[in-house]
């Protein structure tokens, strides 16, 4: 049983529910448990590559650390008693002073970011984009017009990247100075994208695509019993923790 097999819409709803429930909890153990179970699930029950997990988690760890520091220095309150503080005499005075204000809420904030990140990658790295869109169409009644529009735009990305670098080069050869933040090539690219979207829409229409007319589907994503089990287990275990 792999995470990829699960219905993407159910998976997304489960993750979203968990995130909302976690937002109202201040439980460090719960946060860390969620984070590590997400990692374990990804490592053992999905095809996600470890390299991808690390690359995506790096900025999340940075953000978590940032939140931790913010909580440590700027939050108000005192969660640590002075008796506990004196035991930590090896720690520099400045840190002890900061800790005296709020170690606990700092940890709460930091681990919360981690748990969010864990849930996020749990969904992102085990879901195929096209399947997700198809599932949104079948389970959440997303109109085919939007669904195929999103898919078309998604598949245009490589062309847009190429176009952007070509536009930069073209402008430089006209004697314009093009810095890393110049808007001129972006403008050229956006004008092109608008034209592209028009041609794309026309190409799709000429192949008989009409946004809201009835259509058949090659494959229809369905909700199975194991999707519901996954959802109930995830949300249930968070509820038990609370």
């Amino acid at each position: 049983m792999k995470l990829e097999k699960l219905n993407p819409s159910v998976k997304a709803a489960t993750v979203l529910c968990s995130v909302i429930m976690l937002s109202f909890q201040y439980n460090i153990t719960l946060n860390l448990t969620v984070f590590f179970s997400c990692l374990l699930l990804l490592l053992f029950f999905s095809n996600a590559r470890i390299k991808h997990i690390i690359v995506i988690l790096a900025p999340a760890l940075l953000a978590a650390f940032g939140m931790f520091m913010m909580g440590l220095y700027y939050a108000k309150g005192n969660s640590i008693t002075s008796a506990e503080l004196t035991e930590l005499s090896a720690v520099p005075y400045a840190v002890r002073a900061a800790m005296s204000t709020n170690l606990k809420s700092a940890l709460q904030l930091g681990t919360r970011i981690l748990s969010y990140a864990g849930l996020g990658i749990l969904f992102a790295l085990s879901t195929d984009g096209e399947e997700f869109i198809s599932s949104l169409m079948h389970q959440c009644h997303l109109s085919p017009k939007f669904a195929y529009g999103i898919l078309a735009a998604f598949h245009l990305m490589p062309s847009m990247v190429r176009e952007f670098s070509q536009a930069r080069l073209a402008l430089r050869t006209r004697g314009m100075h093009v810095g890393p933040f110049s808007l001129k090539p972006v403008f050229a690219m956006l004008v092109n994208s608008i034209r592209w979207s028009e041609s794309m829409a026309m190409a799709m229409e000429s192949k008989g695509f009409a946004g809201n007319e009835p259509r058949t589907f090659y494959s229809v994503t369905k909700v199975h019993w194991y999707d519901l089990v996954f959802s109930v287990v995830c949300i249930g275990s968070i509820l038990i923790f609370i």
Partner: protein, 496 residues
Amino acid sequence: MRKEEFPVLQLEHVTFRYYENAKRNILDDVSLSILAGGITVLMGSSGCGKSTLAAVSCGLLPENGGYLEQGEILLYGKNLAEMNQSRRAAYVTMMFQNPDLQFCMDTLRKEMQFCLENICVPSSEMDSRIEKAVRELGVEELLDKKLHSLSGGEKQKAALCCLYVMESKCMILDEPFANIDEEGTRELIQLLTKMKKLRNQTIIVIDHRMKHWLDIVDEMILLGEGGKVLARGITRENIEECYPLFQKEGVFYPGVCQRTTPVRNMEMAACHLDQVSILVEAGRGRWKRKDRRRQLLHQVNVRFPKGAMTAILGPSGCGKTTLFLAMLRQISYEGNIQFGEKAWTKKEQFQHMGIVFQNPANQFITQNVRQEVESSIMQWNPGIKDEECACLADRMMEEYGLLRFHRYSPYMLSQGQQRRLAVLSVLAGKQNILLLDEPTYGQDYRSTTAIMEQLTEKIQKDGLTVIFTTHDEELAHAWADKIYRVQEQKLQEEMI
């Protein structure tokens, strides 16, 4: 030959323009009917409304913009306006000139499924229909490749395949060869011949070059300004009678590209390539960089003559454009590229060399045609007076047939007009080496000649060095003083 003699497509007094208040009608009271079966080619000069005519006939316009003032379009005797897209697709489907913008899925199989879903084919039949179509057309190998990794010609083949699998009665192809090389063109023609033989579909083609079509066409129709029919019933037999008309309309016809200028003196070299090798990264993804590198050119030694025109021929993807990028020092290469005695800094490089890209729309720096030309003139002639500049711009736009569009946005021009404008705005500079990437792609004879003549004049007057890439051998032989062909990672010189 045609078997049936009933009209597939009838346009009756169609008048169309893009803006309700525009002065010019793109289609002006057009009446045209096309008979069933066989291949019909519609010809006309750039910007005469051919593409618009095609889109209007499919019902894509005015639904996606524009204003249909009057007229009626009948498909198999039924009014087009009363059908929805799905039903229209049973009668007519269309293929476009830009191969990148026709697919909304990532593989041909999924795209074909999408097409069949649109026309409500039950999912149980889809696989067999797709298999049958690719087998009949012999394109099985394209089925599961990522579409963005295909060449332009392969993409156009895939697009044709999609139309074929839908089994609509009539197909309209809008300049299907505009963005692909000779090889791809030949393969597409083969595919079309096969389709014609297998199903006797009605195929309507819009093109300004007839050379590829002569062997398989059943009828050619010449369109003039405003989409008016100037001549029809042109076939291989009576084509010579129409040459004067083609000449007047500025449309290519066989043998029109004749050499008029003698080969120039080529003793001086503007640019030396010494043992140049170029490796590029093929495919996306940066994880395994070394595996994906591909050798495009290997130890090339050539010289491009000064004050002359050099053509570089070769199929797409062989490294022509990449060579230009190397000359502009935009990509890394091994070996030595020399221009004259002293080396230029990167900044100086662009003062000496100009380049016009395949997609000219990227090169525009202003939002109107006149400003575009004027800003170029100003940039390279600092301190020029405003009136003088305007006067110069007027003259240049006149020469290129762009004066009447001088208040348009460059992005609103047709593809051919855009390219003319790009060439024009680069030529307004004082560059002494000009690189042109496919300068005459998708242009009619008149504008091709206009550009080449303009370049010739610049060469004679200012000693400009022109290097251009092209797929068009006739063009190269008619204008270039030296021709190189990219073959087996080398540049081979070719006899003129």
